[in-house]
């Protein structure tokens, strides 16, 4: 399964490098940076062209709910063999890399969101008040 990172600007690449510091080299992760000078239409087409060439399943991971990367992921997620999630982070990418090996594409988005939900925390809820 391929993980495709849809990000505002180039931080997807840096995120991938950071994730590899933790989990080691990651295969089949591709970055689709969205830059301000590019049209939304072209951005969607670029990812569509990539998807059309793949035989493997693809999980699109967008970085901002309501943002253009999220809208692109939504438009593209209706095709067979493609699913999408939002809220890309180091946490989510590492989790997806772990789960993609034992989870079908069908189940992966739900699994990921369930597992990631309690991975955002207020430190006080962990340590308690002073």
């Amino acid at each position: 399964m391929i993980l495709a990172l849809l990000t505002h600007g180039a931080w997807g690449k840096a995120l991938l490098e950071a994730a590899e510091l933790i989990v080691g080299p990651m295969k089949d992760v591709v970055c689709f940076p969205l830059f301000p000078e590019r049209s939304f239409k072209e951005y969607v087409e670029e990812i569509q062209t990539f998807i059309d060439k793949q035989e493997e399943d693809i999980l699109l991971m967008a970085d901002l709910m309501g943002g253009s990367t999220f809208h692109a992921a939504g438009k593209l997620s209706r095709a067979d063999g493609v699913k999408a999630v939002s809220g890309l982070s180091l946490e989510l990418l590492a989790l997806a890399d772990e789960l993609r090996h034992d989870c079908s594409l069908e189940r992966l988005p739900k699994c990921l969101v369930e597992r990631a939900r309690d991975r955002i925390a207020d430190m006080e809820s962990i340590l308690g008040k002073e």
Binding site: P36, E37, G66, G67, S68, G74, K75
Partner: protein
Amino acid sequence: MLKYDLIRVDDRLIHGQILLKWMKVLKVKRAAVLSDELNMDPIMKAILAKTVPEKIQLDIWGVRTGIERMYEESGKALILLQDIHSLFQLFQNGIQLKHVSISRLPCEAGKEKIHEQMFVSKEERKELGVLLNHGVDIQIQMVPDSESIRLRDIL
């Protein structure tokens, strides 16, 4: 007549900059999107219906219908348009345009660069020229805090 907080031309219509910045700064309670493409895209409409904050009333119309609705409806909205030609259609149909804000003009085939990250087709250059000649103040600005460029100075 539907009044407006702002008329915004942005090929991405509702997205991060609009949700996180413009709607908050302008205290927008209602947004009207005039776009034939979006109006015919059920997936995008479903996504927007779920991600635009509930307290904001959202209307999505085709451009022609939208112009009619602007005359019929009352209240105040942020008007979002996808491209220069839609803006020109508003002008042609008598909608008063005092100030217009453009997010950017992305690079596409057959477009000529007029400034950093701003590209126009021949047709768009002509339409923008007409609007400027009629005294429409057109500013190019990404978000409320970022630098604003007057189109008149670069076209």
